[in-house]
Symmetry: C2
Subunit: 329 residues, 2 copies
Amino acid sequence: MKKTEIASEVKIISMILKRLEPMPDMPIPFGDDVSAVDLGNAKLAVLKTDMLVNKTDVPPSMSMWQAARKAVVMNISDLAAKGVKTIALLASLGLPRHLSTSDIIEIGKGLNAGAREYGAYILGGDTNEASDLIISCSAFGIAKKRNLMLRSGAKPGDMVAVTGRFGKTAAGLKILLENIPLHTKLRKKLVDSVLTPEARLNEGLALAKTGAVTSSIDSSDGLAWSLHELSKSSNVGFMIDHLPIAEEIADLSKSHDFDPVELCLYGGEEYELVVTVKPESFEKVAKKVPLIRIGHATTGTSMTLKMNKKRIPIEARGWEHFKTALPKS
Amino acid sequence: MKKTEIASEVKIISMILKRLEPMPDMPIPFGDDVSAVDLGNAKLAVLKTDMLVNKTDVPPSMSMWQAARKAVVMNISDLAAKGVKTIALLASLGLPRHLSTSDIIEIGKGLNAGAREYGAYILGGDTNEASDLIISCSAFGIAKKRNLMLRSGAKPGDMVAVTGRFGKTAAGLKILLENIPLHTKLRKKLVDSVLTPEARLNEGLALAKTGAVTSSIDSSDGLAWSLHELSKSSNVGFMIDHLPIAEEIADLSKSHDFDPVELCLYGGEEYELVVTVKPESFEKVAKKVPLIRIGHATTGTSMTLKMNKKRIPIEARGWEHFKTALPKS
């Protein structure tokens, strides 16, 4: 549901959260990317669950192995964005009847591959019959309280930066869906970014250690949406003066009908980190973790892109879904 | 999937587990009810995930509130069977489009109610669009290593006992599905056991403290299936000489077509605990926690019911599903 009509998802989440009694002294408030339980000794148990649904999260040509791996990686990415290494995951599976033995083996292998790639393990899970393939993973990690990077600490004047360039996955998805012909190498690169996304775990851990990151989120719902989330949680605005458009996309837009600004801002499933950094520490931090500075935080909550001497509002919309719209609520 | 053709689920789980690299020094092996991560200081983080799927887990007349509550309670029950209190849960939701605002509010309230009833909290979750309602909860608790009750410690000669009588939920489900007329009070009691199941948390915690329980499991897949699981993990057999048939079922069988032995052994979703206890400690334990002794563990792995001077094998089958069969694998 996080892909289309994201406002509708926000409404559903808000309706549910209103009915939940918050745990006293909850270490991480509702609405951040992960949840936590205090373990004492300034440590937290960090928990996350994220569900992959075939119908909405698995594009054409994604294999069972890739889908299972992605279901794991999207959870690891959320912990990584908080500066936390995933130690273990559980996988709850909804399996449609038509799956073959080899599909199930591929799912097992994909789950394991996604976890081991980032030093984590699958500890267990649950299997069920379901109409559509569902892989709901939950991730567990342990964090030092003081290292945790939340959505809520950005201050006006902080630098905004990202761990990589944007637009490849949105372009890759467009290529898959519209079957756009392209030379093999570029096609593979863009399509691979959709089929085998990577979590920025090392970057997240290194950023957390600097103590200079004031807020952080992963970009799974797109760059624009991620900025809006940080804005909402931190009560700041953003002036973006440099769009981190992937080179491949800039090139492609010359020959094909690709809008690089659209793909960069309103794509998604990139799993890059979007962070704010204390301005005085930015250079030092950027030496430790390759960061692309894209702008700065401002007072107020407006969200503006400065480009070609124009100022364009950055809209609160995310990853356009490839197949289906959201439930009406 | 845990409801019908349970052997098929076992096959699927085994295919997946074979592809998972086990975490070194995994505190709880694959195949128990919960998983764990070592926290040091003789403590474990205990993790569990269990998915409720509308099509297979939600009988007719179960409300959204009840379904959401059940999705929470079935996770709490698994931790309870290990002697662990659930501290927090996450809920990953797959929501079909046709749900109304009030459905979603009921889901929120049901999740909260299930957790608060057992002193736990819902910390967060994830929402998605799905074809069928899916509520995949994951539970977190902290255990003292030495208190943990696994499936694997039963020894020949141990007493086998349960925390309550069996058959009410299977009868309740039969009543719901076949719309069997019954006087209001009894109908309500049996149907309520299906719609608002209860986890044996206090019993599980008290049993764990005695240090005399050698193995434990909850009976969500039925008494017979639970005994077979303990047998498999502990490498013992069971001689059952007293079937803990619920009084209501015994009465009902006189006037209706209910087979009390079938309902007691091969029902399910009862959430009673099935435990083995050191024989010399049984009396002391049973003073602390009301237990019904049903038999004892034996050498070998045969599973026998002694009833009316006959010896009947207890079959390895569980909860017959009410709507659908398992995927062929």
